[in-house]
């Protein structure tokens, strides 16, 4: 092995570091550490001058490890790694020591102690740098196409955006036609639009030569990884196989059928979805209507709020009132959820139109009898009876649990306890899965209305574009690695890996599919035989830092 030649660049960061840490003494100290052959101080290491200094430093001193003692690796690490690459040095031979966020900024009144801490941190960095290993980032080819699972409004929105940008899109829909739940709706809130008008996007989709639609089809198998997924679709009896670069999950939800609740019979006691069907077929002629909210939701079994039912009930109540102002419409609710600029106004208008909102208590649910609804009125402190000729139950959106489960296993993505797909991060990555190349939009993620489903479809499409607009995708070089000599194939790691990156190869050995690995390191800490190590965060690298900290150098005395 070549002699280890470490160069350490200590950054002043203007006065950000130099003002609170004695950087000159740090430089002097670093010179005494093993393998360090070159040191330099820079006013701003990340500036043009600073970067040039690193380049010259590498060139003139034949450095094969570079350490920058400056700020947090979370921002500038890619920059300095890039400089190393430019100079022909493997980027993983770069080590960042944070003496700003970790030191000068947080110990501003204790210069001596801060300097001592900075010395320790740099010493730990030098120890680690000596053990760093070169790693290769590799490029994988990306097929410029997308599979969209589910042809509802969210999936169709994503498809049209992607196809209009020239990408090949394949929609797999399990039903006999596109449209999803939108087909069952009468009018849409907000904006009081006819759902048929919205559905016209279907013709656009079917006409688009870039979009391939498979109806009455189901996903049978998904294999591969970002850029190269292998899909098997079951269309009737026929199997279709194709490859795509990315996947969008837009499988949507169903509306709960309230079997056994409030004497639901589908005739005199129906759901909002069935009411909309009556509207559509012009068969609605009831005069005394009672709607009950939160049927089968916000309870122990399904604690979530379906978020669309309040508005749906109001929208339908208004349709009734528009048809027949003399009709009596009661909305029995636990509370009304109208967020945003538009919805509260909608609610006030409904009240003005004569829709009666009245509250029931969760502990005393309303009773539906042959011809009346009896509920306990909190204000009157007594039971109130309302005669009806139609009861409409507002039931929540529920997932296609079994199918979602199967799909989540094929895709290796998580579901929450109710069967909704779980995104990578609720705020930072709302339409991504943590697995690369797979995205999610629409109600399969959480109950959403039509505008929300469309925006999510657009969002997912834009995330997909980021990947398929390039020919290749770069995979991180730091991954887990299994020592076959030590591995006993207990498969604990196989179950632990959140990315299902660990699998068996043809020879039945347990291996890491490096393309899928994200370097979290959980497999390594649970490996009973210590057979798994995490590249760039190897056991000996971490241990060298511990040793350098506790057994070498001085600590504040």
């Amino acid at each position: 092995m070549d002699e280890i030649r470490i160069g350490v660049f200590v950054c002043h960061c203007g006065t950000n570091i130099a003002g609170f840490v004695d950087v000159a003494s740090i430089e002097e100290y670093v010179k005494t550490l093993p393998h360090v052959v070159f040191t330099q101080r820079n006013l701003y290491t990340c500036s043009e001058t600073g970067l040039l200094a690193i380049k010259n430093g590498i060139k003139e001193n034949n450095l094969n490890r570079v350490i920058v003692a400056a700020c947090t690796p979370r921002t500038h690490e890619p920059l300095f790694r890039g400089i190393c690459s430019e100079m022909g040095l493997n980027p993983y031979f770069f080590e960042f020591v944070n003496i700003r966020e970790q030191c000068s900024w947080v110990h501003q009144k204790e210069k001596e102690k801060a300097t001592s801490k900075a010395r320790d941190l740099v010493r730990m960095g030098v120890a680690r740098a000596a053990l760093l290993e070169p790693l290769e980032k590799f490029q994988i080819d990306v097929e410029p196409s997308t599979l969209i699972i589910g042809g509802g409004i969210s999936g169709m929105s994503a498809a049209s955006v992607l196809a209009n940008q020239g990408f090949h899109v394949i929609i797999v829909e399990k039903d006999t036609e596109l449209g999803g739940q939108l087909r069952n709706l009468h009018r849409l809130y907000p904006g009081d639009m006819d759902s048929q008008k919205m559905l016209s996007i279907r013709e656009e989709i079917l006409k688009n030569p870039k979009i391939e639609v498979h109806i009455s089809s189901k996903i049978k198998n998904i294999d591969g990884y970002i850029g190269n997924f292998d899909i098997t679709v079951l269309k009737g009896e026929k199997e279709i196989k194709f490859g795509v670069g990315t996947i969008i999950v837009a499988t949507g939800t169903d509306v709960l059928k309230p079997k056994g609740l409030y004497n639901y019979d589908g005739k005199k006691v129906i759901t909002q979805k069935e009411l909309e069907l009556l509207f559509k077929e012009n068969q609605f002629n009831s005069k005394n209507i009672v709607m009950i909210q939160c049927v089968g939701s916000r309870n122990e079994e399904r604690p979530y709020c379906s978020s669309i039912c309040c508005m749906t009930a109001m929208k339908n109540a208004r349709v009734i009132k528009e048809k027949n102002p003399d009709a009596e419409v009661f909305i029995l609710n636990r509370d009304i959820y109208t967020s945003g600029t538009y919805q509260e106004e909608f609610y006030r208008e409904a009240r003005k139109m004569g829709v009666i909102f009245t509250r029931y208590n969760e502990s005393k649910l309303p009773q539906v009898t042959e011809d009346s609804v009896i509920y306990y009125n909190e204000s009157l402190k007594e039971d109130v009876e309302i005669k009806y000729d139609l009861v409409v139950l507002s039931t929540p959106l529920v997932t296609y649990h079994e199918e979602s489960k199967k799909l989540s296993k094929m895709l290796k993505v998580p579901l929450d306890e109710f069967g909704f797909f779980l995104e990578a991060h609720v705020k930072l990555r709302p339409v991504d899965f943590s697995n690369d190349g797979i995205f999610v939009c629409g109600t399969c993620k959480w109950p959403a209305n039509v505008p929300e489903s469309i925006s999510q479809g657009y969002a997912a499409a834009s995330r997909v574009t980021r990947i398929i607009s390039k020919d290749t995708f770069t995979v991180e070089g730091a991954t887990a690695w299994i020592d076959q000599e030590k591995c006993i194939a207990c498969e604990i790691c196989l179950k632990k890996c959140p990315y299902k990156a660990i699998t068996r190869d043809e020879e039945d050995r347990v291996i890491v599919r490096t393309v899928l690995c994200k370097c979290c390191g959980v497999c390594s800490t649970t490996c009973p035989e210590h057979a798994i190590d995490i590249r760039h965060y190897k056991d000996n690298q971490v241990e060298s830092q511990i040793t350098a900290l506790l057994e070498e150098g001085e600590w504040i005395e």
Binding site: V106, S434, G521, V542, T547
Partner: protein
């Protein structure tokens, strides 16, 4: 005399090692920096990708090398960048904590959650933990304390336990068998698992201690029992296990009592 002692206690600056995950707690520490939240300069940080990467080995290793305290920080439960890495960290921590109770070092290691938005909270955790360790005084393993041979031997046993494949397998499977089902389609109750883990840890810890005592010099059951302050019956049971595993051997019979030695 007492005055100078209290003064040296005042001067005690704990050495604390921090393991921070890249995505939440390290970012939280960055935010503490950007916000200029001041905290004591006693913690030295090692950045790892996930709190689930913190191998129990690292923790024990650092304690043996004299760290006064160890702080493990990850993302809040449910917020892990990798999904459930912090739950793994929790399982590992629980094991380490139980084990360190045997040597009364458990209050020197802590696991907590800091999000990328909690700079102030990060500063608070570091401050509180530093103060706590300061009040505990130097670790019995730190060079300052001149560690006794007994504690060193005990820690050697602890290190063996966390390195032991059986223990790692048990901890590695904890979440799987208490949340999902095992191969016999049973779900193990969490309390039941805890009991099992406790028993296994203690047995393994005692066995390793016996082994290291015998490594020093061959001893009889009574001698080991006296050294460790543990009932002879327990020592005998564990000696049998060690013999079964061919780790120790009979050395000689002294009077009526057998003397054991380590198998080379």
């Amino acid at each position: 005399m007492t005055e100078s002692k209290s003064e040296s206690e005042k001067e005690f600056e704990p050495k604390i090692l921090g393991f921070l995950c890249n995505w939440c707690s390290y970012a939280g520490a960055d935010l503490a920096g950007v916000s200029r939240n001041q905290y004591p300069p006693n913690v030295r940080v090692i950045r790892l990708m996930c709190s689930g990467r913190v191998d129990p080995n690292f923790v024990i290793d650092a304690l043996i090398k004299g760290a006064d305290g160890i702080l493990i920080l990850g993302c809040h439960l449910g917020d892990c960048h990798y999904g459930e890495g912090n739950y793994e960290a929790q399982a590992n921590y629980k094991m380490v904590d139980k084990l360190l109770k045997f040597v009364k070092l458990d209050n020197r290691v802590t696991l907590d959650w800091v999000s990328a938005a909690e700079g102030t909270y990060f500063a608070k955790i570091v401050t509180d933990f530093t103060n706590k360790i300061r009040s505990l005084g130097p670790s019995p393993l730190s060079k300052k304390s001149n560690p006794s041979i007994e504690i060193q031997l005990k820690m050697k046993a602890v290190k063996q336990v966390v390195y032991n494949p059986r223990i790692r397998k048990l901890v590695g499977r904890e979440r799987n068998i208490t949340l999902n089902e095992n191969v016999y389609e049973e779900i193990i109750d969490k309390d039941e698992f805890d009991l099992l883990l406790n028993e296994t840890l203690e047995a393994e810890y005692v066995r390793n201690q016996i082994y290291f005592h015998l490594e020093e010099s061959p001893k009889s059951v009574k001698e080991i029992s006296n050294k460790m302050g543990i009932d002879k019956k327990i020592i005998f049971e564990q000696l049998l296990v060690l013999r079964q595993r061919s780790l120790i051997d009979l050395s000689e019979i002294k009077g009526y009592s057998p003397v054991y030695k380590v198998k080379k």
